[in-house]
Amino acid sequence: MKKYDNLVTNAAGRIVPTIINGEEHVPFMGVGKYKPTGRKHAPSIASCADYPADGNKLVPDLKEALILAGIRDGITISTHHHFRDGDLIANQIFDIAHELGIKNLRWFPSASFSCHKQLIKYLEDGTINRIEGSMNGPLGRFCSEGKMQGIGILRSHGGRYQAVQDGEVKIDIAVIAAPTADAFGNANGVNGPAACGSLGFALADSQYADKVIVVTDNLVPFPCIPWQIHGNFVDYTVVVDQVGLPEKIVSGTTQVTRSPDRLLLAEMTARLCEEAGLIHDGFSYQAGAGGTALSIGIYFSEILKRNNWKARFIRAGSNKYPVAMLEEGLVDYILDGQTFDLEGVRSMRDNPGHVSTSPFTSYNYHGKGNFAGMVDVVILGATEVDVHFNANVVTHSDGYLLHGIGGWQNCLFGKTVILPIPLFRDRIPVILDEVTTICGPGDLIDVIVTERGIAINPKRTDLFEKLKGSKLPIKTIQELKAEAEAICGKPDKPRLGDEIVAAIKWVDGTVIDVVRRVLD
């Protein structure tokens, strides 16, 4: 079997395969153009008569659970990434698979982290054929160098739900590590020593996988409340000593930035939003957990206070900063997809205004709408942007795949999408003629804020109108690019091979771009 085949040029102008890992894929057709028909995928019919009447689905260990769930060559095993770099379960799954001599697995995590780098040996020996999911750090590097046996596929959080729901990816076994669970399989992330807040990324897995295993280190008597994951979807439950390392679950990056340059970016972004009238009573915004985004949130709350306004909701990645806004009454709701610190966990557990969401409610392409499009201001990052406002979040300019898509693509549907990014990092300019990898089409990206000037997408004539007479340094994106090149020099194109190592999906499941092998 060829790893990929049938190359075509898609609507973003990128050459992509339509056969990947032996399966058919649709090339990107443009935003909102691809609408598959037919019925959604469904797991096989279960009957409660087949399950213990007393509700006790406990099995002695993960190995037995995997064997009972039918682990075998070539199947798909999914995990979630709510434990981030503190995950202790995913590695064990593949240790067991290796021990059992199983080959050719597809690992379908919602994201992978550096803690999973020990899986490289299983990627090398063929236990794992490929990762379909965000690859951060060492795994991304491994994939970039063409060492993975299959082709990696990266999807957004929403795209992962879409792929599960329309049957593009059929999960054979979902392993859901849970900070708290009961023997029936009800589970949540808000209690227990490895509390991580939401378990939203595992929702699709619980609903659609053929077999579902819940693994916990904090077993409680039925009922486990809240039941973010319903035991009715669960086949087996397993108790282990520890599911995750709390200090690594709580991410160290969720601090407001102290860098004066990043604070300046945050300040300029907030000023732009205020001057353009994007902030108002009842407005909503999404800001990630990066230092700059958090600082923007603080400026937003100052603007709200000054005007005696209240935001309706914050779409989060939550931590102590939006929680403080919720508790100060500056916002009615936090709609939370992943929880970054213990303050976020506490708030989600105790505050009815802090709501756990999943990619289904916020991002899913096959829902009858989702709320991503209702968010007034969306603050996102990027590794690169090009003069057409296309942006990249997965590869660096040297060609290496080092980050996942996360909810980034899904958030692009917000009303005004702003990317605050430094004009250059070390010597590497961020604005290019053409991004290395297109993750988001320029049509959906409205403003680039850099420390040396702000570029507004020419399509947003309304923003130009509102910012007439503003003292903000509004420039064209070409001017910004020239400014960076005057300082850094124009970078050479990195040497990349023709060989494709990973595909990037758009939110609708079409292939928007590929990642090519990095040459030494």
Partner: protein, 403 residues
């Protein structure tokens, strides 16, 4: 002998380290380790060869460990290493940006001046985006003694090739007489102002000016170079007026309190009574000489409230500006040195009354039932001038006001 210049390591960014050995034969042996190799490796190698060509070095072993340095930094590091090994007057200069040939006016606002350690390229690149009134490339206390040689090349290149977005470009040289050598490096490259540290007598200012003129004659540059002596000792305070009036290009007199308090045997406190006399003396001496009095830096970079209070006290003592050591201090300093809305309002009323009296041919200016003395008018005019200069008041405010 192997010469090195620059920095490397896990936390180093925008810098590089060069190790260089000059040999008798064997051609050029280059080793480049760069985190931007894939994007800039070819260009960096070409730059290395261009510099070696310039200095006629055919046989060398050169190791460059690069953490994303921009070309002007790479050039400064390589040149420093070369000139540690060979004696030459040749200088490998980066192209001078047109905006870095701009001269500054002697009376421009000097509310804030941002200190930048002279051997830290990372902090220099983005200094201008925070819009301080001035930037100081520091060759004195922030540079370790064994790094002063290489820092001079970096500062020279920064003066030529980094855009500081309109900030006045200053260099703090080392204490005279050692600092006189620094002048050779920096004066011909579009420098606007020299901070002369630890000045105790007017003679030191004369020495600096003699050196500037000597370099001017030799290198043939035209732009004026202003001086800002820093008073940092008891003797300096006593001689403050003589120093302030030592030469026509002395445009400001600054006080440095860290060294001053040590010199008088006191400890620096938040209340700052120990330096009250020094600060007041500096203000008085500067005003007597018709130049700007400039306050010391405030060192707690996390406490913006305390900084704001400090600036208010500084302004109330008569200072026209102060130093800063962190970009976040700039906005606070500007906001608190600039006239506040109430001050601007009052000044507008006084100036309008003054204009009105002039039109009516009245000798006395009055506002309501109150007579206004000429010094009050003068101060109001200064406030208005400041407000317009800082963009807080429209240029033609008077026209708008009278309509």
């Amino acid at each position: 002998m192997i010469a090195t210049a620059g920095n490397k390591g896990k936390d180093v960014r925008s810098d590089c380290q060069v190790s260089l050995e000059i040999r008798q034969e064997g051609g050029r042996e280059l080793v480049l380790e760069s985190k931007v190799e894939r994007l800039y490796g070819r260009q960096i190698r070409a730059q290395i060869h261009a510099i070696l060509d310039f200095f006629d070095l055919e046989h060398v072993s050169l190791h460059l460990d690069d953490s994303g340095a921009v070309p002007l930094v790479i050039a400064a590091r390589i040149e420093a290493a070369i000139r540690k090994l060979i004696k030459t007057d040749k200088e490998f200069l980066p192209e001078q940006l047109p905006q870095n040939m701009q001269v500054t006016l002697r009376d421009r606002h000097r509310f804030s001046r941002l200190y930048l350690p002279g051997n830290s390229p990372k902090l220099m690149l983005n200094a201008g985006i925070h819009y301080p009134d001035g930037i100081i490339l520091d060759l004195e206390d922030s540079v370790a003694p064994d790094r002063k040689f290489e820092a001079a090349f970096l500062v020279r290149n920064a003066l030529r090739a980094i855009d500081f977005y309109g900030a006045e470009r200053m260099v703090r040289i080392n204490q005279v007489p050692a600092g006189l050598n620094d002048i050779e490096f920096v004066a011909p490259h579009g420098l606007n102002l020299i901070l002369v540290p630890k000045v105790e007598e007017a003679g030191q200012i004369h020495q600096v000016n003699e050196k500037i003129e000597a370099v001017r004659k030799e290198k043939g540059f035209k732009q004026p170079i202003w001086l800002m002596p820093i008073i940092e000792s008891a003797l300096g305070v006593v001689n403050a007026y003589a120093i302030a009036s030592a030469a026509p290009n002395v445009v400001a007199l600054a006080v440095g309190l860290e060294d001053y308090t040590a010199d008088i045997g006191a400890r620096r406190t938040n209340e700052a009574w120990e330096s009250f006399y020094a600060r007041s003396s500096v203000v008085n001496a500067a005003r007597a000489a018709g130049i700007q009095p400039i306050d010391s830096v405030f060192s707690d970079v996390d406490d913006m409230e305390a900084l704001a209070n400090n600036v208010k006290i500084s302004k109330s003592l008569g200072f026209d500006g102060m130093g800063c050591i962190h970009p976040r201090q700039i906005a606070v300093i500007h906001e608190n040195f600039a006239p506040n809305p109430a001050e601007i309002d009052k000044a507008k009323k006084i100036v309008l009354a003054f204009e009105d009296a002039g039109k009516k041919g009245l000798g006395v200016v009055s506002l309501g039932s109150k007579m206004i003395d000429p010094p009050v008018v003068k101060r109001a005019l200064k406030t208005i001038q400041l407000a317009v200069g800082r963009g807080l008041l429209d240029h033609d405010w008077m026209v708008n006001e009278q309509q």
